[in-house]
């Protein structure tokens, strides 16, 4: 159980979701999208439920969004995540129907709807997490 001290890492080789993680290693956010009707297919999936198309692709989007909600976790759940810490839910500017999760240490000052900017954190060779923080320049 020694690995319990480490944060869980994303499995990046899933057939449906690996494109997201590959893009992250390149410093990009890529969202599965329908080629026919542009419906956002996040969490990533290969078939468009809106227009019944199999023509879907990875679309690069800007690393910006707005804060949709958040929680400050005070009671520890996992040794890799010392409390308090903040989990944010960010709606992407270029893909409103996609929301991504981010981790922030401590209790940063946040406001509903505020501008957020992504950063890319290499956590292990070949594994990069997309993280979010308030976009102070916006």
């Amino acid at each position: 159980m020694s690995t319990l001290n480490n944060a869980p890492l994303p499995f990046t080789d899933d057939l449906d979701t690996s494109g997201f993680w590959k893009a992250a290693t390149e410093g990009k956010i890529s969202i599965r999208t329908c080629a026919a009707c542009e419906t956002v297919l996040h969490l990533p999936k290969l078939y468009c439920h809106k227009c019944q198309s199999w023509e879907t692709y990875w679309r690069d989007v800007r690393p910006t969004g707005t804060l949709y909600s958040w929680t400050v976790t005070v009671q520890q759940l996992h040794p890799a995540f010392p409390t308090p810490y903040t989990v944010v839910l960010v709606e992407l500017d270029d893909a409103k129907d996609a929301r991504l999760i981010g981790y922030l240490e401590g209790t940063p000052e946040l406001k509903m709807g505020m501008a957020m900017r992504a950063s890319f954190k290499d956590v292990e060779p070949g594994v990069t997490l997309v993280q979010w923080e308030p976009d102070l320049n916006s």
Binding site: A7, T17, V74, V87, L129
Partner: protein, 400 residues
């Protein structure tokens, strides 16, 4: 009778049974399930040999055939399971009703058993516990890779985010959540079987309880419970031959809503609107099948893993306008003498967390007139099961 909804009033719950609710049962789930099942069957005036169908929850460690063997049923002709998790119990009743109406079984045992405190503690997040320290998480359609690596681990964190959205969109306050916690606690204080029967709570107690995942405090969270609950579903004719007043099953419904994504639990954060839940769609189906509406409901048992879970359902089941759940909860409407008394045994919040199965037993007690917080003259009871992935609900009524 409408041919379209021909299960209406054809079946009833004829027996109920449960174990004690504790934090350390000292028994396995199969033992707990066996105790609850035997109690429910005896309450129905039956013997195990007369049970020919069983329904279990997809989260249960005890399967239908296990409990059948354990209580000495020679042969079951029908069994099934539904879910997901807390969304199961009313859907499990629906499955039993379907079996009885279709002639697949006569007397169906429906049960839920868990060691929710001494065993796997759902409140701490099941994915991380089940991964047992695995380095990599997610894949295989779980989509956990988008959540767990960021410290998004437990249901309460997700409900904190949903609550904050409701607060931002509609002006709901922690005071409103406190109103829900207090109602559940007061009903539990009257219920000797409730885990919190001896634990009084004031509004000050609520606000001084420790923050778990802001804006949710300890008393916004349900209990973690070891125990089991079971019921017997049968035809109204057989139920009326039994020793107990039959609780007629007016209608049952399940509902996913249009955005029930694949993935475990946190995928519900991708819903277009977080403040409308599958309960909105389920309510429409249920009321249509029942030929009843919110104004016909005398008392309700709302699934309450967290206080905001109740708040959203008050809106989705049509007891107030969307956005007014907080104000409605704080208006006194949910009190025993209010327009909609709720969770009269204390609910998941204060009676115990049998994953919503205990709500069905309390619904039956209200129809029988035997609740420890009896609503005078209750003829109808709405019972709901968990959100946010999918959900289910039933309306019980007196034979009249």
């Amino acid at each position: 009778m409408s041919q379209e909804f021909q299960h209406r009033d054809l079946c009833a719950i004829s027996g109920i049974g449960s174990t004690d609710f504790s934090r350390d049962s000292g028994r396995t789930p199969i033992t707990l399930a066996t105790q609850a099942a035997l109690a429910a069957i005896a309450d129905a005036g039956l013997t195990p040999a007369e049970i020919d169908g069983v329904v279990h929850s997809d989260y249960d460690l005890v399967l239908s055939s296990h409990i059948a063997h354990s209580i000495g049923i020679l042969n079951i002709n029908f069994w099934g399971a539904t879910g997901l998790g807390g969304a199961a119990p009313c859907g499990m009743i629906g499955l039993a009703v379907g079996a009885v109406v279709a002639g697949l079984a006569k007397n169906v045992l429906v049960f839920r058993a868990l060691n929710g405190h001494s065993g796997l503690r759902y409140g701490r997040g099941t994915a991380v516990q089940r991964s047992a320290g695995a380095h990599f998480v997610g894949g295989n359609g779980s989509f956990d890779e988008f959540f767990l690596p960021y410290g998004m681990l437990a249901p309460g964190q997700m409900w904190a985010m949903i609550a904050r959205r409701h607060m931002a969109e509609f002006g709901t306050t922690s005071d409103d959540l406190a109103s829900i916690a207090l109602v559940a606690r007061e009903r539990a204080n009257a219920n000797p079987a409730a885990q919190m029967t001896d634990r009084k709570m004031t509004r000050d107690d609520y606000f001084s309880s420790r923050m778990i995942s802001d804006p949710l405090r300890l008393f916004d969270y349900c209990q973690e419970t070891d125990g089991a609950c079971a019921v017997v579903v049968t035809s109204v004719e057989r139920a009326n031959d039994g020793p107990q007043p039959a609780a007629y099953i007016r209608a049952t419904a399940q509902g996913s809503g249009p955005q029930s994504q694949a993935g475990s639990y946190f995928s519900a954060l991708m819903r277009e609107v977080l403040t409308v839940q599958p309960s909105a769609w389920t309510a429409q189906t249920l009321y249509q099948r029942a030929g009843l509406g919110p104004s016909d409901i005398d008392v309700a048992q709302f699934y309450d893993c967290f206080t905001p879970t109740v708040l959203l359902q008050l809106e989705d089941y049509g007891f107030c306008e969307k956005g007014d759940g907080g104000r409605f909860a704080s208006s006194g409407a949910l009190d025993l003498d209010g327009s909609l008394p709720i969770n009269t045994a204390g609910g998941n919040l204060s009676e115990g967390y049998i994953h919503g199965m205990n709500h069905i037993l309390e619904g039956v007690r209200q129809i029988r007139g035997t609740s420890t917080s009896q609503v005078a003259g209750a003829q109808t009871c709405l019972v709901t099961s968990g959100i946010p992935i999918t959900t289910s609900a039933i309306i019980l009524r007196a034979a009249s």
